[in-house]
C-alpha cells in the first residue's frame, strides 16, 4: 500500500544510524531527536518526532550514512507500513 503525502515525512532507519546527531543539529524545524533507546550497534538512533517536517532535506545531506535518512516531500508517494 502507498499513499500520496500531504505533509512531508522524514524516516530514519534506526539500524543504519550511528547516532552522530548531525541531522538533529541540521533540522531547521527541530523535529528530529536522538532516542534514549539503543540500536543493535549501541547507538542512540535519531528519529522523526512525528510532525512539523517541511521536507527541506537538510537532514538528508547532513547525514553521513547513505541509507540512514529518507525524506519524503509533500506530494511524494509514501510506502505505508504497518505500525508507522
Amino acid at each position: 500500500m502507498s499513499r500520496i503525502l500531504e505533509e512531508a515525512i522524514t524516516v530514519v532507519s534506526a539500524e543504519h544510524c550511528k547516532g552522530c546527531g548531525l541531522c538533529v543539529q541540521a533540522c531547521p524545524q527541530a523535529v528530529l531527536a536522538l532516542m534514549s533507546s539503543f540500536n543493535s550497534k549501541g547507538y542512540h538512533p535519531a528519529h522523526y518526532v512525528g510532525e512539523g517536517c517541511t521536507g527541506c532535506g537538510m537532514c538528508f545531506y547532513a547525514c553521513p550514512e547513505p541509507a540512514a535518512i529518507t525524506v519524503y516531500k509533500k506530494g511524494a508517494e509514501y510506502p505505508d507500513q504497518e505500525g508507522r
Binding site: G21, A26, M58, Y61, C63, P64, P66
Partner: protein, 474 residues
C-alpha cells in the same frame, strides 16, 4: 524537477559486501565527513547520468574502502598514486569519467608530487580532495594540512610554525599552475556549506564531462575521531580552526577559455600490436616435439658474466624458445648500473610444471662467461648438474668432480664467425643440442625477439648452428 524523495542515491551499491552481518552501513566513524562527501558524489553520479562510465579510485586512508560503496568502476591504488592511475585510466578510456578520491595525507603528503604533475599536465580527471587536517586512518598523525597549534599524535605540543611549517594550501598551490581548469575549496560544515560543496563537486565533474580538463574540489571535512571532538561540535571546530586558514571559494576557473578536448583512442588489432612492438616471429610458432633427453629436464639455469657479453639475451633466447615449446618459463635479469663491464647475471627456469620462484640460487645449469662467475658460482651448482664455461677467456679449470663440465671455446668460435659478441648464442646452441631440452629450431625462430639489432639475426643463426655442430663433437 526537484526530487520528491531524497533517499540513498543509485550511485551506491545496494549492499556493501565488506563485513559479514552488516551490508547497510559504511565503516566510517559517526559524524565523519567522508560519508557526506560519498553521498554527494553518489548523487551527482546518478543525476549527471554518468554511472555507467565513472571510475572512482580508492586511495589509502580511511576512504580505502570506497570501492565497496560505489556502484561504478572502482580501483584501489597505492598511497598517493591515485592521480597517476587516474591518468592511465583516463588516457586508456577517454570516455570514462575518472574520479580520484584522496585524503590530505594521501594527496598532500606522500602523493604531493603525483598531484602536482597530474594537475600541471592538465589531465582530464576530477580529484576530490578530502581535507580533514589529519591522518585519520592511522590514528591522528600530523598531515601537511594540519593547523598551527593543532595537537596530533606526532605533534603532541601542537603544530609549530618553526618546526612543521604552516598548513599547506593545496588549491592555492595548484592554482599557480597553468594546467588545471577548475579548482575550488568548500566544506562539509552545516547546511549552507554542504549545498555549496554539492555544487562545487558537480561543477568539477561537469568540467570533465565537457572535456575541459583538470578539476579538483578540496572539501574541508570533519574527522571527529582524529580531532577528538563530538560530531555535533565538529562544525564549530572547523569554523574556529580551519576557516581562518583555508578560505572557501573558487580559486581557479578557466572553463570558459578551454576548448573541449576528447582524446581519441586508437584500438589496435592483435596483428597491429605485434607489428608495432616488433614481436613478429617469422615462421610457424609451435615446435611440438620436445627432444628431451633424460637427466636434463626442468632446468634452473644461471647465466653469468660481464655486462656486454649478451648474458641477458642468451637467457632471453632460452626463455622465448621455451615458451614456444609450451614450457613454463621465467627470466629474471640482474645487473649492475654500468652499461659495459659490470656484472650481469640472469636466471632462467624452463619447466613442465608451474614455476615457484624465478630466482635461482642453486642452478642445475651454470653458464659461466668469465672467470669471476665461474669461481663464484661453481660451488652452487647442484650435484649432477651441468657447468658450461667459455674456455677462451676463462683460464682456470673447474674443480668439481660431481657435475658434468663442458668447456666451450665460445668466444674463439664467435671470433671465427666474425663477431666475438656472439659467444652467447654459441653457448645456447651447445646447450640445447647437448641436452635436448628443446629444438634448436625453436631458438632460431625466436632469435629476433632476443636480438634487438635486426641486422645481426642472420649472423646469430650461424652462431647457433656452430654451437649445435660443436655439441655433436662432444
Amino acid at each position: 524537477m526537484a526530487k520528491l524523495i531524497l533517499e540513498k542515491p543509485k550511485g551506491f551499491c545496494d549492499s556493501y559486501e565488506r563485513k559479514p552481518g552488516d551490508h547497510g552501513t559504511t565503516h566510517y566513524c559517526p559524524g565523519c565527513g567522508h560519508g557526506n562527501i560519498h553521498k554527494l558524489l553518489a548523487e551527482a553520479v546518478e543525476d549527471l547520468g554518468i554511472q555507467d562510465r565513472t571510475i572512482i579510485i580508492s586511495p589509502v586512508g580511511c576512504s580505502v574502502f570506497v570501492y565497496y560503496y560505489f556502484a561504478t568502476g572502482n580501483i584501489q591504488v597505492a598511497h598517493g598514486r591515485a592521480p597517476a592511475v587516474a591518468t592511465a585510466l583516463k588516457r586508456a578510456n577517454p570516455h570514462a569519467i575518472v574520479v580520484s578520491y584522496q585524503g590530505d595525507g594521501d594527496l598532500a603528503a606522500i602523493g604531493g608530487n603525483n598531484i602536482l604533475q597530474a594537475a600541471n599536465r592538465g589531465e582530464h580527471i576530477t580529484v576530490i580532495f578530502v581535507n580533514n587536517a589529519i591522518y585519520g586512518m592511522t590514528g591522528g598523525q600530523l598531515a601537511p594540512t594540519s593547523l598551527l597549534g593543532m595537537k596530533t599524535a606526532t605533534t603532541p605540543y601542537g603544530r609549530d610554525l618553526l618546526n612543521e611549517g604552516p598548513p599547506m594550501k593545496v588549491v592555492e598551490l595548484l592554482s599557480s599552475l597553468d594546467g588545471p581548469t577548475y579548482l575550488e575549496r568548500q566544506a562539509i560544515m552545516g547546511n549552507k556549506y554542504i549545498a555549496r560543496a554539492r555544487k562545487a563537486l558537480r561543477n568539477a565533474l561537469q568540467c570533465q564531462i565537457d572535456g575541459k580538463g583538470f578539476s579538483m574540489v578540496e572539501i574541508l571535512s570533519a574527522c571527529p575521531s582524529g580531532w577528538k571532538v563530538d560530531p555535533t561540535d565538529s562544525y564549530a571546530w572547523m569554523e574556529k580552526n580551519m576557516l581562518p586558514h583555508f578560505q572557501l571559494g573558487v580559486t581557479k576557473d578557466v572553463r570558459a577559455e578551454r576548448e573541449p578536448f576528447f582524446r581519441t583512442f586508437k584500438t589496435l588489432s592483435a596483428a597491429e600490436i605485434v607489428e608495432q612492438l616488433d614481436l613478429a616471429v617469422p615462421e610457424p610458432k609451435h615446435f611440438p616435439s620436445k627432444l628431451q633427453k633424460t637427466g636434463y629436464g626442468d632446468p634452473s639455469i644461471k647465466l653469468a658474466g660481464f655486462g656486454g657479453q649478451g648474458i641477458l639475451s642468451a637467457g632471453a633466447m632460452l626463455a622465448n624458445a621455451g615458451m614456444e615449446q609450451g614450457l613454463q618459463t621465467s627470466w629474471i635479469p640482474s645487473y649492475g648500473p654500468e652499461m659495459r663491464g659490470g656484472t650481469a647475471y640472469c636466471f632462467v627456469n624452463l619447466s613442465e610444471r608451474p614455476i615457484g620462484s624465478p630466482t635461482v640460487s642453486h642452478p642445475d645449469v651454470l653458464m659461466a662467461f668469465n672467470r669471476p662467475s665461474l669461481e663464484k658460482f661453481e660451488p652452487d651448482v647442484k650435484p649432477g648438474g651441468l657447468l658450461m664455461y667459455d674456455s677462451t677467456i676463462i683460464d682456470v679449470k673447474p674443480k668439481r668432480g660431481d657435475i658434468e663440465i663442458l668447456a666451450v671455446p665460445a668466444t674463439q668460435m664467435a671470433d671465427d664467425l666474425g663477431n666475438t659478441r656472439m659467444a652467447n648464442t654459441i653457448m645456447v646452441g651447445v646447450y640445447v643440442a647437448h641436452t635436448g631440452i628443446m629444438s634448436p629450431a625453436a631458438i632460431e625462430q625466436t632469435l629476433p625477439l632476443a636480438i634487438k639489432r635486426k641486422n645481426l639475426v642472420d649472423a646469430n643463426k650461424k652462431a647457433l648452428r656452430a654451437g649445435v655442430d660443436f655439441a655433436a663433437t662432444l
